[in-house]
Symmetry: none
Subunit: 211 residues, 4 copies
DNA sequence: TATGAATGAGATTTCATTCAT
DNA sequence: CATGAATGAAATCTCATTCAT
């Protein structure tokens, strides 16, 4: 029942393994030195393989970076969505908890693998037009997800009915970006938690003194 | 009274003019095709000058992009600071107005020159480590400025005394980023204004329904 | 018994071969057209290889010329020293024979490969300060070697006890230079032999008429 | 009677002056940094003139170096020939004195202006084929001059009748070269004098112990 | 006449990609 | 299949020379 769908041979499995290692090594290089400063030979050397071998696994340099980004985006997507269906929330407190959980999850990813924010925020967009689009698409996705939460909250009445859903969602995505950015300079978990908390207080309590 | 301040010769003036044109053409190219995809010859061709001429005005490619970024950052800095001293504000309403004004000013820059957000958010950080630092420094500057507003507001009592100033400022910077980002896909002023308003409502009213 | 000493693969051997061919082609070019007038592409073209290939074997243009000079200097050093230990000589006649042998050996090198004197005397020193130093060092070496012969001869009593060893050695090196120079215009062996003989007569008999 | 031949105007004189200064500045640059490493702009800057001005005085870079070499060669020629007619010598002692005087004169030139040996021995020949020929021509000239002394000495009987005039002259030129070379590393007058003396002892006494 | 801004030929060097072994 | 030698397109940068001012 396990390997029924694709009866992979041992060789095939090895191949997939190396494929994955190449993606990871490329991720390392791109995040460390930048996409343009990374030569295919650098990636191969890091793995101890010949650089010709690279081309048996990926079309070209542009191909690998696409895979790197896909992987990275998938990981963040999972953090944003996993176990976190908008309709699982029914009160403001639930939502606040949910937000905290998502925030924490993101923070963990950024913290555990600093290549993620670096690549996503610094490297990807500068590669070419198409990649910049992918980055924007990803932000839009995050915004859409947030928007669905907001809409759900409005429907259930625990969020302001007059909320400008899309733009508020954009603003919230911006704060997530801020969190990712700050993880580049202050990667300690403590700091990330405080920032995350500040974001939530902003969202729920606003900044004004209680009149 | 005419040329008293700087008695520049006509030749000198022409030189400064071309220098500026080169910076501008470089800005065009970098924003359009990206830093790495832009050859010095592209910049020169765009101006109808020989590419050797470029090197009479700038050391090398890295030099020109530094100037482009400096210009760009200066422009945004002006929008963030001009006429906008934190201590000119003394009530929450003042602050909200102030925030609106700054937001509008930024929106105008992003809208009037779409190269600005594209360069700042997409191209700059991917150039090299040093430039990535400059970008982070710039975000830090914006955050520090916001923080000074917040501190001022706390002191005067119209902002929450228990505000986590620095992290809240970070979050607000993130929303400014969101605004810049959105201008890339939806550059119409109308949209920008709405996003700006949503940010302000988030800040002042929170998202929760009035209990 | 075959490849016991250095178990080089066929590929490795081919590589060394090409490396040597590149040095030789570079030597050709530098001697023919001069270092500065020679482009890397010229060297590559002469070998029928792509000019990118050059950079797989040598760091840069400066690197190759260093190797060319090292080769050349080694060749001349061998001629100056091989089988020619100062202490193998014990009479004036021996010394004269020795001198003749060294002179002949040098002449053969200059004659067999006219690139040698051309490169050493005309091209090398003009390349840069460091190379000029190498050339001077080489002359100093030749002078030191000659000096050791002279010292030996004084000790054994067949050379004048009041000889200014170092300066006399310098003068003799100068005459070797003259020989190298003359080989550029008059490369025939006959001429070289006569010049060599004239040098020896000068050294042993002086120029004055017998009183 | 003074300026009758060419009635030069003040302007003309100034022009000639600048022309000379350019040659001298070029000499400085070429000797210091080498011909290829010297840009026309370097020469102009050293004089505080615009580099366009250079081209009002000299055809091109090749032209100026030709003039530099001509000047240099003329200076050495003067030292070799001035007041030193072969037929003014009639005894071996006279000749030895004469030789000393020429040697001293050359040494003074090399010592007073170290650019001379550096340019002549290190830079000139590497410039191009034509210049290499000029250098060889110059050495030939020195050799021919020496040869005429030798011939004169043979005719008057104070030099060996069986002297191989041309090749002996070549050898002597070689020793002059040695002197020039040594002035590059040991420019002190004392050393030059000793070397010069060693050359003369070699020529007149040989190196052998008196039997 | 002096100047220096403009020019582009030309040289060096890198590196993604191919392909024979 | 893996390898890495070979390749050349393409980019950067320099500087001798011209020429308008």
């Amino acid at each position: 029942m396990t390997s029924s769908a694709t009866p992979v041979s041992r060789a095939e499995r090895k191949k997939q393994e190396l494929r994955r290692e190449i993606i990871d090594a490329a991720f390392d290089c791109f995040a460390e030195r930048g996409y343009h400063a990374t030569a295919i030979a650098d990636i191969a050397t890091r793995l101890g393989i010949g650089h010709g071998t690279f081309y048996r696994y990926f079309e070209n340099k542009r191909d690998i970076v696409d895979h790197v980004i896909t992987d990275l985006v998938d990981r963040v997507k999972v953090a944003l969505t996993a176990e976190n269906a908008p309709d699982a929330v029914s009160t403001l407190d639930d939502y606040r908890t949910q937000t905290a959980r998502i925030g924490e999850s993101l923070a963990r990813i950024f913290h555990e693998d600093p290549r993620v924010p670096r690549m996503l925020l610094f490297e990807a967009a500068g590669i070419d037009k198409a990649m910049a689009e992918r980055v924007l698409d990803f932000f839009d996705l995050a915004t859409a997800l947030t928007a669905s939460y907001l809409t759900h909250g409005i429907e259930l009445g625990y969020l302001r009915a007059d909320l400008d859903v899309d733009n508020t969602a954009s603003a919230i995505t911006g704060m997530i970006l801020a969190s990712a950015l700050s993880s580049l300079r202050k990667p300690e978990g403590e700091h990330q938690r405080k920032l995350s908390e500040a974001v939530r207080r902003l969202m729920y309590d606003g900044i004004a003194a209680q009149s």
